[in-house]
């Protein structure tokens, strides 16, 4: 465990409270192997493939069938005819190549930790909510609250997305090929958001950490969101990240604008970077 710096937040008892409580250090100690795997996660073989025809299935049946195939060790799963159903592809906690041949409805691929998902269509509201790790790539557009509260992984929409993209984002990367709606990055706490097109009003409203890159016009910045200085590191990061998904910023990554939090939170901003992980 990192040595914590003595400072005002220590005096306020914030760190003691965190370290005496049920912290991530206690749950995910590397010395406790059983804490590194999830209940209902499966050891799959990505050389084995399976297909599900979801035309006549309920969301519960689709999710059950995905789990049944994973239990058999199948690591490449294609779901045909999801027909924009809600809550599909959720709660997958292991590596898996999962492809949906069509659009999904609300809350698709939420609460996942590890799979690589490809959706050959559109997604509705709250796609990949609370995602922990892995990748989700959407070929079409996405609805509002895209990537709400994600903590890790790459969430990629090659089209445009609705309002409140990345609301309460706590980590990971959200990439949007087109434009985003109002209040994107609202209460963002960590991670990166890359918007190749325009951003709607109140971008980054009430954000207190994290970085937003915008390639087009910003309708209006939200409270506490301020322009940041683009560096060579930013350009290299954006170039490599967009290349990874075959995407381009219309005006080039060098022309993208960076936005960060301009707000100082007394407790939060006095912490070292390693300490901030304990707070969030």
């Amino acid at each position: 465990m990192a040595t914590l710096k003595e400072d005002k937040s220590h005096e306020m008892g914030l760190h003691e409270e965190q370290l005496k409580g049920r912290t991530q250090q206690r749950f995910f100690s590397v010395d406790e192997n059983e804490n590194l795997t999830y209940f209902h996660s499966f050891d799959v073989d990505t050389s084995k493939s399976g297909t599900i025809d979801a035309l006549e299935m309920t969301p519960r049946e689709i999710n059950g069938e995905i789990r049944a195939l994973m239990e058999k060790g199948i690591g490449n799963i294609t779901v045909d005819n999801p027909m924009s159903r809600h809550g599909v592809g959720v709660g997958i906690l292991n590596r898996l190549n999962l492809t949906f041949s069509d659009s999904l409805g609300y809350f698709g691929c939420g609460l996942i930790d590890g799979p690589n998902v490809h959706i050959k269509g559109r997604v509705g509201w709250s796609c990949a909510e609370n995602m922990m790790a892995g990748t989700v790539v959407i070929d079409g557009n996405a609805g509002s609250t895209f990537g709400a509260a994600i903590r890790g992984g790459d969430l990629v929409c090659k089209g445009s997305v609705g309002a409140r993209t990345g609301i309460d984002q706590k980590g990971g990367t959200i990439i949007v090929g087109g434009k985003t709606g109002a209040f994107s990055g609202f209460m963002m706490q960590r991670g990166r958001m890359i918007i190749c097109g325009d951003a709607g009003m109140n971008l980054g409203d009430s954000m207190y950490d994290g970085t937003i890159y915008v390639g087009g016009e910003v309708e209006e910045l939200g409270v506490d969101c301020v322009p940041g200085e683009m560096t060579e590191l930013d350009v290299r990061y954006l170039t490599s990240k967009l290349d990874l998904y075959g995407m381009k910023a219309p005006k080039g990554v060098e022309k993208m604008q960076k936005y960060v939090s301009g707000k100082q939170l007394w407790n939060y901003d006095n912490l070292e970077p390693s300490e901030k992980k304990l707070v969030l």
Binding site: M83, S84, R85, H86, S101, D102, S103, G105, Y106, K120, G121, R122, G124, W125, G140, N141, A142, G143, S144, G159, S160, V161, G162, A163, R164, G181, A182, F183, G200, M201
Partner: protein
């Protein structure tokens, strides 16, 4: 939370079975609101006006011993008052004991007709129009469609609503759509909550507008009617409404040859749009639109404060 849906055929003329299409979309939205279902559909204009009205609530039939006689009396009174105003009733249909459809031949002051008929206790006009037919009742889309025989309704466009009651009663009076009284062929469905309903309602009532329910959504219909009465076209009236209405909303309006949608400035309520060459379909959830297609389609979410109007 409520579900709304709409469809407009740009080139299919009057031949599209919008009754069946709207039912399949609204049934797919049943989980958003199972209390009541309503349709505002636009069929063939044969020169006469269609008047849809109810003379009692569905629940009245169970709770009153003399309701059947009262319904007969109300219908007789309606007939006599229509005759008194020179309205010729060409055709009568009664899908239920309490809901009726009159095809009328009249070219005079339709507001006067509506006011005179609605002056009868228990009577509410659901719609008047050359092509608009507004049908709403308790239950899901399959129930209402079966009850009113809507599966064979041919027309150009329509809007519909599945309601989860939050602000007012579960009854036909509070069900959507709302007719924009006294304008022929204008109807509204809404998903959301309006927070300045009472303030604006009182202001509109002082201007002489009538409200038939305590449902906040009716404010939109009355406001649109008021703006159009002042000369606004539909799109202008809708754009003004985005500032006028406070709260969260996505709503649809249909006129004789247009269908429009508006979204609040926070984009708090959902709407998914499919825009094809021949047809535009829109709904609270894509799963409803997919009931019309067996192949992948391109759809999008409109943005905050956005207003769109399509014509057939």
């Amino acid at each position: 939370m409520c579900g709304i849906a709409g469809i407009i055929h740009k080139q299919a003329g009057k031949g599209a079975n919008i009754g069946e299409q709207m039912t399949s979309m609204l049934q797919a939205l049943k989980h958003r609101g199972p209390d009541s279902t309503g349709y505002a559909m636009y069929g063939e204009d044969n020169g006469n006006q269609i008047m849809r009205f109810k003379v009692a609530e569905a629940a009245d039939l169970e709770g009153s011993y003399d309701i059947h006689a009262a319904i007969e009396e109300r219908l007789a009174l309606i007939d006599s008052r229509l005759a008194e105003l020179g309205v010729k009733v060409v055709k009568k249909e009664s899908p239920t004991e309490y809901a009726h459809r009159y095809e009328i031949d009249f070219s005079g002051d339709m507001k006067k007709v509506a006011d005179f008929v609605e002056d009868i206790e228990g009577v509410e006009i659901l719609s008047i129009g050359n092509s608009l037919e507004l049908i709403k009742d308790l239950g899901d889309a399959a129930i209402v469609s079966g009850q009113y025989g809507l599966d064979g309704f041919n027309g150009t466009h329509g809007i519909g609503h599945t309601r989860m009651a939050t602000e007012s009663d579960v009854d036909i009076r509070s069900a959507h759509p709302y007719w924009a009284y006294p304008f022929s062929d204008v109807a509204v469905v809404h998903n959301g909550q309006l927070t300045n309903y009472w303030t604006n309602r009182r202001a509109l009532e002082r201007k002489g507008h009538r409200f038939s329910s305590n449902c906040d959504s009716e404010l939109i219909a009355v406001y649109i009617a008021d703006r159009m009465n002042q000369g606004d076209d539909l799109e202008t009236a809708m754009k003004n409404s985005v500032e006028y209405l406070d709260g969260v909303f996505t709503y649809l309006v249909a006129t004789k040859d247009e269908l429009g949608m508006a979204k609040d400035v926070m984009a708090a309520k959902p709407m998914v749009v499919y825009e094809g060459d021949d047809m535009i379909a829109l709904a609270s959830e894509e799963v409803a639109i997919r009931k019309l297609f067996d192949h992948r389609i391109e759809t999008f979410d409109p943005y905050h404060g956005e207003v769109r109007v399509w014509q057939h």
